[in-house]
Symmetry: C2
Subunit: 339 residues, 2 copies
Amino acid sequence: MKIALDAMGGDFAPREIVLGAVRAARKTKSELAIVLVGDEKKIREELKSEKGWENLPISIHHAGEVISMNEHPAEAIRQKKDASVVVATRLVKDGECDAVLSAGSTGAAVTAAQLILKRIKGVSRPAIATPMPTPMGVTLLLDSGANVDSKPEHLLQSALMGSIYAEHVLGKNNPRVGLLNIGEEETKGNEQAKETYQLLKQISTINFVGNAEGRDIPKGNFDVVVCDGFVGNVVLKFAEGMAVTFFELIREAIMNGGVFAKMGALLLRPTLRKLGKRLDVDEYGGAPLLGVNGCCIISHGSSNAKSIENAIKAAGDYVHRDVLAHIQNALVKGGDVAE
Amino acid sequence: MKIALDAMGGDFAPREIVLGAVRAARKTKSELAIVLVGDEKKIREELKSEKGWENLPISIHHAGEVISMNEHPAEAIRQKKDASVVVATRLVKDGECDAVLSAGSTGAAVTAAQLILKRIKGVSRPAIATPMPTPMGVTLLLDSGANVDSKPEHLLQSALMGSIYAEHVLGKNNPRVGLLNIGEEETKGNEQAKETYQLLKQISTINFVGNAEGRDIPKGNFDVVVCDGFVGNVVLKFAEGMAVTFFELIREAIMNGGVFAKMGALLLRPTLRKLGKRLDVDEYGGAPLLGVNGCCIISHGSSNAKSIENAIKAAGDYVHRDVLAHIQNALVKGGDVAE
């Protein structure tokens, strides 16, 4: 198994990306190979400090351009044929790699996957499925930003794809699928949610439990929560901001809290660390773009080596568990019901 | 100033509602009077334990019916003319009270206000404006659930009303208004957001700073964040769920953390308490329904006495600072630009 890793994408690229690749390669050894895609000189520079990397299953595939966060995705992809994310995606298309992984511009990664890998037959719109940490494990939130103004059929497809991913990769048995809404009753919500509810109700291949409210996500009351990419993206970023703010406030409160508070914090540190690890998004690293013909994993822009390592693991699981084939099969059936 | 308080609305009604009223009355003394609206017998029962309440500016206005959380708001309001929230709202309409406050069904309170108080001229849709705690004070999120599938003009009106409330009640000078979106650039987002951006750009009476992303809300980067009621409601409930989960996890981690963790927690307790208080939604109690002809304050269903006390304070501020007149003036101007 070979993973094409966009070495130039992300706030801390190429440093943290390369580091994550090395760590993953050291652990998995011969099970998977990593192709670092990007500026060869810069990548080599980073690899220098990783002693013995030559013996790891890591190779470099040069790509001379980079798409930055601020560029318009579709335009950038058309103009920069040699951009790292484009080249990495093409490696999957050409059968040289099994998965592409990028922490760069999400829009660029999604657009590249759509244009190069194309959509799975029966899928009108791919969706980013983000695993969110909860006390009950993870809840898969999708779509978390690939598309906005989605139609009910698109959300139905997301539900099918999310359920498959939750079952085969996240190990959820008969995953509980919820529709993100503003009330429990099926008559609640906007037009999109009300119509989607009616579609989901009719699908027998997934375990649709009903509407999920905002609070059900952090509480882990569902395995899969389906929503429009606009709402999902807002929620995802809100969660990130709230977690960061919370830990900052605790730190600040301790600093201003006098000697007892500081002693207490010292004693509590291992406990809080463990908790932080449990809630750390980096532990869950990658979010698959479900619905394209190939494995495309998206990591958040601020990915560090640990996120990348975990995202590589997610890519491996996706390929290993044959998620693509499962989705292809299901969508043919699912499409029938929806039409 | 007189406040009509729906004594029967909320998970802990009438107990906590009555208690909140008594506390508020004890503090404010003669500045404001509270009319407890609901089942007189039950209210008297609760008041019994509050020694000397007869000397407080509290009175009872009997209402024989209650609208529960699960009833369809519009139907319930039509059928139950004697429901506490309906009677309380009518007291404002009739000029007997200056504000209505309910912790019962949000839908019922909003519908009652729309039907009885009517909308302000120039406002097509009222919006619930919820103050959310951040390290920088509060951020006003609106609409947090009065309406869904809003048009850009509605969001523009929300921006105008929210800005006025933030300035006059929350004490924000030239409040920074943001449009909730999935990216900073004005070309980002769904159709609703893109069109709203263009409208907001043209308004000179508010300080429109640009798009706000999900993470900007908990970080407190804006004073007012405008969005569709569907998105706002999801975000609000997500925040509630995340805060509850977080504190539960900390408690659980401490319980399982051995003797050092417990000692640390003991030493840190005053610091964490202070922090909890700073982030506690109950401290900010009430969310005004902006855009109706009268002051209508909505409290969350799980309101305790403290929330009610703070919501009464919010109602007092709303009336005292003449929010209604400010909105009426602004909307005449704002309406011109929008059309």
